[in-house]
Symmetry: D2
Subunit: 150 residues, 4 copies
Amino acid sequence: MNDWHETEIRVRYAETDQMGIVHNSNYLVWFEVGRSEFCRARGFSYKEMEEKENALMVVAESYCRYKSPAYYEDVLTVRTKVEALRSRSLRFVYEIYRSSDETILAEGETLHLVTDKNKKVRSLPTNYKRKLLSDEVAEENAFPANQAPS
Amino acid sequence: MNDWHETEIRVRYAETDQMGIVHNSNYLVWFEVGRSEFCRARGFSYKEMEEKENALMVVAESYCRYKSPAYYEDVLTVRTKVEALRSRSLRFVYEIYRSSDETILAEGETLHLVTDKNKKVRSLPTNYKRKLLSDEVAEENAFPANQAPS
Amino acid sequence: MNDWHETEIRVRYAETDQMGIVHNSNYLVWFEVGRSEFCRARGFSYKEMEEKENALMVVAESYCRYKSPAYYEDVLTVRTKVEALRSRSLRFVYEIYRSSDETILAEGETLHLVTDKNKKVRSLPTNYKRKLLSDEVAEENAFPANQAPS
Amino acid sequence: MNDWHETEIRVRYAETDQMGIVHNSNYLVWFEVGRSEFCRARGFSYKEMEEKENALMVVAESYCRYKSPAYYEDVLTVRTKVEALRSRSLRFVYEIYRSSDETILAEGETLHLVTDKNKKVRSLPTNYKRKLLSDEVAEENAFPANQAPS
């Protein structure tokens, strides 16, 4: 559907547990950082959509496969893309790598329902939908071949 | 001003860090559990005050002294009381013990400002104030000496 | 395989996010509380297995389906059971209910690999395995095959 | 004693609470990010000191004054410096600003004891101490008293 967006984070001490590795719940927080940055990179303000359009992307499902542990101070690359975009729901997929050696640490996905502030399902505002799909939108908006500037 | 309220919690695995002990930030979460339970024990619903009275108790200061580490699965006693109650602010103090051996693990305090949802300072609603002070209120309401039942 | 174990928790203020509901990552922490309590209820000390037997149950996969939001101060019932127990891995499943009205809020599962402290896969210590299986063990032990009632 | 080190972080959705602002406990996590980056900027690896030198910097006290709320997606500047460095303890101080408008959001400090992995107090390894003090060390080393330019 569209390309991966990449963002980097550094593992915080508070994210480790007594096993000496990152606690499993933090990957869901990192997935969220990934989709925040994905949206921002496409000129899509999740904050604004929530405040001004009364549209929330509530998490309906989360899945994570932990393949190799992350350690304190590791720099990680969170790769994010939209896998399925319907009128009232969308699915993000993620991969997390250790940046230094490109070891894959985790992969996962989250399914979101679009709701208003009263948790009633609604449609994703059109202008936001276009931005999430910006690769295709870009194509649509490009000069049609016969109108290209010469 | 009034008596300590006590509540118990059990240390969660997620609350530990790679030092093998509880991460320092969790004590602020436990202090919050302490004051939630303190309020509930006095018939004071913090949730309701926030929703129906438009009064929030925003944290303005926090202090914690960590005296001995807490470990996974420890059962802890959080002791909470109100130390100072003014019209627009209040101070809670806390002590955290390991229940099994009564070792004191931490002590601290938080200062709160009362605000509305727009973060503007306001007064604590009177009925909530009475409940926080319930010991004294109880005294005030008690039969005046000269009207006591004989 | 065996019965559900139930434990109660109360939603903490710190677990909510600006949507006014509990943040999705906390369900993984609650699943962990569920399996800690499941183990304890069967006389299985996870803490001791980690420290004395050098056996860790590393999370390899997590899945959660969020069906209805949880709110600050809600009392929740976390139901936990072991779904599959192999020599080097096991799967826990969970259901989370609001205790007051029995609304189901979430269901999920976690897959664990048994490793030593160096993250090398190993077998679950036998005495711990027996405890996790205590229902069936009880059944198996009840009538050795050659003495079964006919 | 020495200059402030600055590092930037962006507020995560998971760090907000139902008041619509960042939960107070996260500032302690950000202080920790500040001192991690402070150490790294001076060629001091906290991770390595913990693993190879058996020296931990356990938090003995934390204090935070919350002056103005932080919001989801805010970019914050965490300013960190060492305020007092003794043989077995040290104090970090912090300031947190919103980068866009330079509003100060919080200031605080943490006191640390240096211990070994068994939580016994010990001295800070000399080479790490020098790095934390690098400004002064630089000055001291610049001109030995008897060779100072006149």
